[in-house]
Subunit: 335 residues, 2 copies
């Protein structure tokens, strides 16, 4: 690990780490970033490990504000922990930078520290490297669950409800706005509407408040990062089941509904866009009331969008007349 802060003849890299990242290393296991490795303790528990990287020009835009880049990098990982029913325990950061730019690093580190505190997920260590290429932030995050209790993808059973948190599609619409696409044109003067969608793209809202409810009640769960349709297909495939989704039940924001009604965007764009960072889970019918109550206490909206059914066919999206929607592409792929 290259994060250790050297006090003897500190290099530019040492100074960078001492100034920006040492203040974030509040956990005892981080040793104040003066060692080569960190310690993670999880007595009697399982350590849940997840890793996600975000790349300039791919997962965020070159001119996105540094504070939102920091939050997105951490939150896409926190979202995975939430969906697995895990309590955040800490993270390590790899930062590939073209230069050590104070004007960029100051808000980046401040926002990262704020989110680390907010979500109880302290910095444990990391590595800073120089790159001639695009900025990249790679985070490996750790959570804790009671032994054997991580919520898997592959546990959904026929009859379970298919449930999602929050609203779907807003982040993809926000990206379209930033790229000057049709959504930007349709919303023209609706500055507030555009701002909300852009914020949904830049700053995911991971549902960590729901982690315990997911752990206690879901038969299967994952976070929606590559598009609801594709991610549901993955959950079903892992569980060896299919699903019937009531298209009209998919929760949309007010602006999302408006855009869909106006014909500016397709339902396919909503469910294949990605970057939602909501939780998709299967909840057995007899657990649903308890789950919904806990979600309400946690302040997280949950919506039943369909039912798990037997079979191995791809999940079907049905309209009010029971007609099936044909989806061209289900989700985003890097290659």
């Amino acid at each position: 690990m290259s994060f250790p802060v050297a006090s003897a003849r500190p290099s530019g890299e040492d100074t960078l780490i001492a100034r920006y990242f040492k203040p974030l290393a509040s956990d005892a296991g981080a040793f104040g970033l003066v060692d080569d490795a960190a310690i993670l303790k999880a007595p009697g528990e399982d350590v849940v490990v997840t890793t996600d990287a975000i790349v300039e020009g791919v997962h965020f835009l070159a001119h996105d504000p540094p504070d939102t880049i920091a939050r997105k990098a951490l939150r896409v990982n926190l979202s995975d922990l939430a969906a697995k029913g895990a309590t955040p325990a800490g993270f390590v950061l790899t930062l590939a930078l073209r230069s050590a730019d104070d004007a960029w690093l100051t808000p980046f580190a401040r926002a990262l520290g704020e989110d680390a505190t907010k979500f109880g997920c302290p910095l444990l260590g990391g590595d800073t490297v120089s790159t001639p290429g695009p900025l990249m932030v790679s985070i490996t995050a750790f959570g804790r669950v009671p032994e054997g209790r991580m919520v898997r993808r592959g546990g959904a059973k026929p009859g379970d409800r298919v449930v999602v948190t929050g609203t779907i599609g807003d982040a993809a619409l926000g990206l379209d706005i930033l790229k000057g696409g049709p959504v930007a044109k349709t919303l023209a003067d609706d500055l507030a509407g555009k701002e909300i969608l852009v914020a949904r793209y830049r700053i995911p809202q991971p549902r960590n408040a729901l982690a315990k409810a997911v752990r206690d009640h879901a038969s299967a769960a994952m976070d929606v990062s590559d598009g609801l349709a594709g991610d549901l297909a993955k959950l079903c495939a892992a569980s060896g089941v299919s699903a019937a989704i009531d298209t009209a039940s998919v929760p949309l924001s007010a602006t999302g509904r408006k855009l869909l009604a106006s014909g500016a965007i397709s339902f396919e764009a909503i469910v294949s866009g990605g970057d939602d960072y909501e939780i998709l889970c299967a909840i057995p019918e007899d657990c649903y009331d308890a789950f919904a109550q806990e979600a309400k206490r946690a302040g997280v909206a949950v919506t039943t969008i369909g039912t798990v059914i037997a079979g191995t066919a791809e999940p079907r999206f049905l309209d009010a007349q029971g007609r099936e929607l044909t989806l061209g592409h289900l989700s985003f792929s890097h290659f």
Copy 2:
């Protein structure tokens, strides 16, 4: 985590992961890469976490063979675990690629799998992202130690021996050869000598076989990655001590000795070049015999290069006449 293999309408990314990386996910906690997170178990032990990234053009060269890039990416992390006295437990991989090139990925994944097996450090998960920039391989590796037994940087005491494994400087000389520098010219026809040095640059030899001996006997340890002089200064600073190093004792390879004797390279280049991935540790005198015996059994050469002394001055490098060498720069810094 974006490594899960989807079986429903697999994307290019899913196919890439299924083909190249699923075979490496032998640990039960990896769930065959079909889930969003991995589980790491360490009952009654501490989990040691370290992370290091390597970037094309910075840590390896654009035309380095893919198998050596894979090995280097994992081994620089294994080296940290070894120096901390930890037993490898697994790793997660983030791979930023310009394209999914079979001719590159096949040897990369094969070599990564071979090293994962060789060092008992299975792939637990990861993320593949596309990048328009340089190739980057970021690995977070995990080890296990008995509770509270991770070997720290900050435990060296006056009177302890300063010990290094293997030989120092070879990797920096190998890099000089690849760059067509003075070493390449001096060694001109010594093909075998050049090959050995280049291999030391491309494929570190982490000293994991020595981890237990380090844990049982070292008062402080770290791996030498940024140059012996700078890394020793860091270890001393963390321990609140100084050191006196006998320059003639620093272990060099036969080719390294030849190059130094010929004047083709300076001693400073040897001890500030970096990429050694040897262990630097402080061993109390009364532990040394047991340590040396265990090192011999492990097949790892260890050499005493000096003594920890009281004080907070920078470690001194002394020649046979007791004259101090002045070192300009101590180590490599990214910024």
